[in-house]
């Protein structure tokens, strides 16, 4: 194989890498004593959220616009991957007084 033949292939790989987010991050959101901590946080599409429920109660993280609905059993950690961009207000369906905001960049 001559070196020239590999170049387009390498270029395509590099371009492809530039389109995919550089590195998908893992972001922790803790639920402690009926509070989402932090109450406001920024993330990117493709990032993973680790929902850490420290309470003895089941909770949900439910997007008001319907983009996600995660149930977190008592004392459990659940992960979900962010699929859509936007500034999303979310709440707990079981305890609607629990509210927070997740700002997801494209």
């Amino acid at each position: 194989m001559r070196p020239g033949h590999c170049l387009p292939f390498i270029a395509a790989l590099l371009l492809g890498a530039a389109v995919v987010p550089a590195h998908a991050a893992t972001i922790q959101i803790t639920i402690d004593n009926l509070v989402f901590v932090p109450a406001e946080i920024s993330a990117q599409v493709g990032d993973t959220i680790e929902w850490i429920n420290k309470d003895v109660f089941a909770h949900t993280a439910t997007a008001r616009n319907g983009d996600f609905d995660v149930t977190t059993p008592p004392k459990k950690t659940v992960t979900s991957v962010l699929k859509k961009a936007g500034s999303v207000e979310y709440y707990c369906r079981y305890h609607p007084n629990m509210k927070a905001v997740l700002t997801i960049a494209p």
């Binding site: 004593n33 009926l34 003895v56 109660f57 707990c92 079981y94 305890h95 609607p96 007084n97 629990m98």
Partner: protein
């Protein structure tokens, strides 16, 4: 319906003031008993709803009530054991239980959508009353810091239940 509901609220409000009228603020063993009793009452109402409710949101709400109130009451039992406190029966607990037994019998006569609406309306009224008692009487009176903190968590949970019940009531109309 409205008359019956306001009568129930009036009776419960009287309870609160009757307990306050005793003069002395409730002791920690009494507070623990009142809080535990209030939880048991809501669990019993929820168990009735799980078997009687027709609407799926109402049924799911009742299941949430059993799960949360059992979790709070388990914490309360663990705490009194740790503190070596024996919950003490008292007039407020007795009046709450009597009122709840009457309410269960009244709700038991209803069927279908009438039952669903009445159960949810009572849940709103009941959580309002308990939350107000927690805020104005039980939390300020609690002397043990861990008991106070558990009551504060209870208040947040029950305020959530009240809002949840209000959302369901709005959808049932």
């Amino acid at each position: 319906m409205f008359i019956r509901l306001s009568a129930a609220i009036a009776a419960l409000s009287l309870l609160g003031s009757a307990a306050l009228a005793q003069g002395a603020k409730p002791t920690d063993p009494q507070i623990a008993h009142i809080a535990y009793t209030a939880g048991v009452i809501d669990i019993n109402a929820a168990k009735q709803a799980i078997s009687k409710a027709g609407n799926k949101d109402v049924k799911a709400f009742a299941e949430d009530m059993v799960r949360d109130h059992e979790a709070v009451n388990k914490q309360a039992l663990d705490l009194v054991k740790k503190l070596k406190v024996t919950p003490e029966d008292n007039d407020t607990s007795k009046a709450l239980s009597k009122q709840a037994t009457d309410k269960l019998a009244e709700l038991n006569k209803l069927k279908g959508a009438d039952y669903d609406k009445a159960y949810v309306a009572n849940e709103i009224a009941y959580h309002k009353t308990v939350n107000s008692a927690l805020e104005t009487q039980l939390i300020p009176s609690a002397s043990n810091a861990e008991l106070k903190s558990l009551l504060q968590t209870g208040l947040k949970i029950f305020q959530g239940h009240q809002q949840h019940a209000e959302q369901i009531a709005a959808k049932l109309k």
